[in-house]
Symmetry: C2
């Protein structure tokens, strides 16, 4: 059943956008690993916190439905969204070795998470530890890829990269990759992309003006994926 536990099969993933990323294998495996267990489920409404930074860390959470964001704050009030999380993603892995959470996790709409009793499963459930390790390493690679993007791309390219990446993830979840419904506000999106919300709005308008996308508030239709990819290659 899990004889492949020790044999990683994929080569290093290219940063973002690579359709067949390494995320699916892992997260699907985790979901199926856990699906039999009687896990506590928590439903949340928009803006509800799964946990706050500083709260004692009891368990991990697996996102089963809905969209979430994780946010890091500093003493002097600066804030940054560290990622948008969706079905199959884990909330709380960043503080797996700590007594309390190091970030906030907030629902962006209605959602459901499964409480995972880590300590028990690490010993009792074969393959679970491997999943955890994979999820952690995956998060690191994902963070690094975004750091690279933020460091080297201009505002337009960042937005395009985000949209195309989001499309890939939506497709992975079984939705259309052309018709995106952003769950986050412009402010959240801007924060994640290290831009001002006005800049994001302007870029979206500009992309629409060129016929690359169709924007209606938080609904975004991708009209010309090739054209968007061209923007990333620098061939304006």
């Amino acid at each position: 059943m899990f004889d492949a536990a020790e044999s990683p099969t994929e080569s290093a993933p290219s940063p973002l956008l690579c359709a067949g990323g390494s995320q699916p294998a892992t997260s699907h495996r985790l979901e199926s690993l856990l699906s039999g267990l009687p896990l506590q489920r928590r439903r949340l409404r928009s803006r509800q916190y799964v946990f706050h930074a500083g709260q004692p860390r009891q368990h991990l959470y697996l996102v089963h439905a809905g969209f979430f964001k994780t946010c890091l704050g500093s003493e002097d009030g600066r804030e940054r969204i560290t990622g948008f999380r969706m079905r199959g993603d884990l909330l709380g892995i960043d503080s797996l070795d700590l007594a309390s959470h190091s970030c906030d996790a907030v629902a962006l709409d209605f959602g459901e998470v499964w409480e995972i009793p880590v300590a028990q499963l690490q010993n009792g459930l074969p393959g679970f530890q491997e999943c955890l390790t994979a999820a952690l390493a995956n998060e690191i690679r994902r963070d690094w890829s975004w750091m690279l993007a933020l460091a080297t791309l201009n505002a337009e390219q960042r937005v395009v990269t985000f949209l195309l990446d989001f499309a890939v993830q939506m497709e992975r979840l079984g939705f259309s990759p052309r018709c995106l419904l952003l769950r986050m506000s412009r402010a959240d999106l801007a924060n994640f992309l290290s831009l001002q919300l006005e800049t994001v709005a302007r870029v979206l308008s500009r992309l629409q003006g060129r016929g690359l996308i169709d924007v209606a508030r938080r609904e975004i239709r991708i009209e010309d994926r090739a054209g968007m990819l061209a923007l990333l290659s620098g061939l304006h």
Copy 2:
């Protein structure tokens, strides 16, 4: 000896600069865990690669001496330094679940790394898996903290943050926290801080002009730590 294996003791760490960070406990524990084992050691000279992105991942590496950088590249030639690594840091954890490395690891000067046969130790060495998990989670928190810094601080504040953070790390390694010897070029530093090397040079000169630091090429003496911290608080 290691009865504390299952009890995380620290609360969530504040981003950067917090002197008593969570890194030391972990890395020291890993070093002592491994110190008895007959590990393969590799000495490297400046600019030598520990591994390249894409190479098959055989083992992990523990930095025992010297300084290293890890770099992520993209197909179109963009590059970003994901971190500077020193004694006690692990090289290669980011691809723990993959068959090949996802980044480069390069020596910045003479150095030594220990080859860690992960698969064997994960089963055979009690406490090792916990160390790995802690190192992974630690890397995520560190990455997030830098993302926050890069997203919210201006050029001057970024450089100051880096210097103060570097000082803390040097002190942890037993060196003076006032007298820093940067092992990386201005270009590397700029890359890591998402700035241009000219900007870094200018900022360093400006800080020196105000008497906050003393710059001599790669030797930097911290003259007024309080003044530097004030810059971060926004009270110019």
